[in-house]
């Protein structure tokens, strides 16, 4: 139950494109930095849902045979963060896909619900069963129990009950719904590829598939896409904006623009501000790659200090690794980072 506190994942959705699952695959690949534990895609042809989820990177879990099954012109996808402590288990992979009274529904969620334990206990006391430890399953229970007729209304009613951060995409055979929490804690963007609508955690996902970035989904906004087109709803009370600072510092790719601010420029500016607030007397500025590079550049430039890439990051650090029995000092760091001798 502990892994619903980790809230860095990636979501993607597309409606109205041939090869929607293929494009979701590429979109997830672009969002892979947001999660490497598991990947999943659910597509639809307007009649039913087709799902596949797998442990590991999207390129490892989705071969040609799998892709052939994921037919239809609409799809959502998810990459899940690899949390060291929590149990890596396929059953926690997303999107979750269920049948309930209104038919089939798939959900992919980036965020975490702070009143999860309370809501889950309450649902269990009314007879609900839980097959995963993710708060996404809780959302589905709330939607299934809602008495509203329209899916959009069910989603609104359910989300009014939860607290916390979320950027979520829902898919039924006929609708794709994307919604961002009222504080805007997690990013969510809207794009267009020919006639198709696209949503994704970061605009880098648009770049690879050749889609155009339109705008961020606003905090508290709900986008409903179906054959009739796209509707934007504002069902929640406005809240003060609280975009998570770690998106800029760590989670997002430097080539993404979130809330109109380039992550790369934001990082450089943080370095500059740091230099102004803490004007140190330094000989040399060396960043810890990758996320620290841009801020270190800003820091060095503001101080007029030389900047060198004195730590090299391995491209080949994977998840399974044979460690030597005999101790090697700072093995984990050595595995990932290596110094450029002479500089250090």
């Amino acid at each position: 139950m502990d892994d619903h506190f980790h809230d860095e994942c990636g979501v993607f959705g597309i409606f109205g494109a041939e090869e929607s699952a293929n494009l979701a695959y590429l979109g997830l690949h672009s969002l892979q930095h947001r999660g490497q534990e598991s990947s999943g895609i659910v597509s639809s042809d307007g009649q039913q849902l087709f799902a596949h989820r797998a442990m590991g990177l999207v390129q490892d879990g989705f071969g040609p045979a799998v892709m052939d099954r994921l037919v239809g012109d609409r799809a959502i996808g998810h990459v899940r963060y690899s949390t060291a402590g929590a149990k890596a288990d396929l059953k926690n992979a997303q999107p979750i896909a269920v049948d309930y009274a209104q038919g089939a529904l798939a959900v992919a969620h980036n965020g975490n619900l702070t009143n999860f334990d309370h809501l889950r206990a309450s649902l269990e006391s009314e007879g609900s069963i839980f097959q995963t430890t993710s708060d996404t399953e809780l959302l589905v229970h709330l939607i299934a129990r809602s008495r509203q007729e329209e899916l959009a209304d069910r989603v609104v009613e359910s989300l009014r009950a939860v607290q916390g951060a979320y950027s979520i995409v829902f898919l039924t055979p006929t609708q794709l719904i994307a919604v961002r929490d009222p504080y805007g804690l997690r990013p969510l963007c809207l794009g267009m590829l020919k006639d198709a609508q696209v949503v994704a955690s970061e605009p880098v996902a648009f770049h690879l598939i050749g889609a155009e970035y339109l705008r961020d989904v606003e905090p508290g906004e709900m986008i409903v896409i179906d054959r009739a087109g796209l509707r934007s709803l504002r069902p929640f009370e406005p809240q003060p904006r609280k975009m998570c600072i770690f998106e800029y510092v760590y989670f997002a790719r430097p080539d993404s623009t979130l809330s109109g601010v380039s992550v790369y420029e934001a990082r450089k500016r943080m370095g500059r501000v740091l230099a102004e607030e803490q004007p140190a007397d330094v000989d040399l500025v060396i960043p810890v790659p990758d996320s620290g590079v841009a801020s270190a550049m800003g820091f060095a430039r503001a101080l007029g200090a030389p900047f060198e890439l004195g730590l090299i990051r391995s491209h080949y650090v994977g998840r399974t690794f044979i460690e030597p029995a005999q101790s090697i000092r700072h093995f984990g760091v050595r595995l990932k980072l290596s110094p450029v001798r002479g500089l250090l």
Copy 2:
């Protein structure tokens, strides 16, 4: 939703044995003829449940690393029948393991519930969500919604609502419950291995692990096993016995004894009865292996006709197979059976 009509699976349970998951593994191996699509084991150390499910044979899906995780002295297991039509999907593998208001619960089920659609629609109308198409998930919903305090009472209340065939084992951290439907449509047997209690679909599962066969679980009987020992309950109305004839004809292994009747002897007797009812004038009796061998022997012996093993079955017919593009007549049969020339 169509695959809940296929009701040939194998179940196993053991309580009070070191290496319970290992013994479940061997028990499932012995029941592998009852299902090759997927295998699963859930064990417990008295505190929590440990689960693993995999597609394919038990020996393919459970390596040493998996077995190391399945700790504790109690376990249940399941092998699922490979149905040609239904979609082979890991999410339909059993045992199902869920959390609900009373804690953790795992279920393995052999049978089919004839009022499944009705019950499912009713549960969905009250807000239940379904992640699989199996009737086992429905059972768990019923148990979770029961207002009884004890698991045994919840199980009874739930099973009173269902119609159809079932031999089921339940596992919580503290209890193992085995129950057979009032008609006795599916087999279920009770055995003992030192101090441990064992249940299995067929007694062949006892042989491999060195357990002693005690008796069949009676139609309508519920066995509750915990630290306090074994209790036998009779919570259902007695019904006329209706052991499924296909267990003797096809499903069960010839070396099993069901309801006190040897499957091998039953098959021979069927052949003898056939010879008496249809006294044909035959030159030679050749069985279709494997299930037809014993009855053909009985048939030949009753007629005084020579018996020859004129068809040889391949040991190596698996599930994935490259078929030649050019047509070969009766390819599927040729792949499985081959004639002994000279006899045919």
Copy 3:
């Protein structure tokens, strides 16, 4: 070096058929009882050789992507026996494919060469290197060192240097050569599929692909097949026939006919002879399946004793198996064979 004493493998060759690799795949499947450790196919389009070898059953190691690469109208294949002691290693899989002065050559071999150690030491002393422990590699060295111009003459010269049992198929881009040792210790048969020539260790390989059995390759006979047709050569001194009795007793499938004698009938006859030579007073004859069934039938019939299939063989005994830590008596036998209670 110890595994060249195990000489039960299966070989297959086909020349002049579309989808030759596919047909080799099916032929090897039919010969799978002769070897489960590894499988291999080499095909040719007349220009070059295309090879794939894999551990395990042919159906496990050859998927659609592999088969697509194995183009051409001629192919040879091999299944290798799983020897408990010798190291299972892909490098010992066959056919071996090499380049030498005359071009590309592939070899698949069933048998063992009794002067292997002597020949190998002699070749090594002249600078040869060995990458495997199989005597097949030795054959290739001999062929490469031969000063004859034609492949057939090189093969003859090489085989004159070796002693022991062999049924071998060679493939170059332009020729398929099949040869059987002068004693006829290992089986080899000739068949026809439309215009294509087929050779295989046992005629059961012809059945599945719809080929017609023509005759056995004679002891000491060499068959050379190319675009010009089929030539039969007799390059070796005639020797007394010494067909290995274990082919009838154990190796071959009962539905095969070797040297004009049905394996099934041979086994029954062995049982009959045993009954005549050792007229025991028995209550019941129970065979050890599978290879003992036919002889036990012959034995029981000659004695007038009842015959029962009192031991059931598991269809699911594979190669990797989790054994329980706690000892189970006669575990290996229990895993494979299970008694029909009441009979034993």
Copy 4:
């Protein structure tokens, strides 16, 4: 035969360390940027060689079960470059391990032999067979045919016959030999880990295992390591130094020091020299990561132009990838590199 022109691989050797295979594994991991197609390790306990080779990254191909087999205190390893054109095939993986008249021998080679075709044809004309298309197999043939008594002398005699670039490590049960070609075209370094001797293509391999860098193996130097210690031999004519410039530009890691020159500094200097030779009037310098970063920094600094990391490289570009059917412009580049909007 075409892939012996690709000469960027990584080699590693260690003698006298517990867990030698484990340390080789880590060394190869550090050299993974030099080759991702296949990995291999051969170890020895002084009596025999133990080998494993696998396609892909070292962390993918070497699990705990494999490592357990690779016992002994000496080992060599190899990572092979993934060449787009040449056929990726396990049989071309290194180290090659063979038996010949003097016993067991394993070889791992970085380089290419320019007179390969000539030597191979000559060896084939004398009866040699080739199972791979690598020039490493040719080296082994030459060594096996040498009439010298000592391995070191055999190696020298063989290498005198070849032309081209090579850094090679040899392992027998009793000796490790490392040799670098007289021009020094490929790098090779010597280090020490407690009492163990270590050689590797680049010093980054020493860093991870905590070994100390001692010096480069000199061009034309042969290092012979056994229980008696380390000997340095100079068996070849001195030649003008010709370290391959691509090692600095592209192959080596920036944190390596080759021939006493830091790769990182060498790259920066190249940028500076470029700026001096081609003093362009630029607004902004943006490198193509990763190998272009340091030289772009040197270029920008020399010009006084701003430097920005305007192209972000994906960490998740693997080898198998589902491409969309509909065309996406410059898909390959988009997959690997993505621009920081606003800068470009």
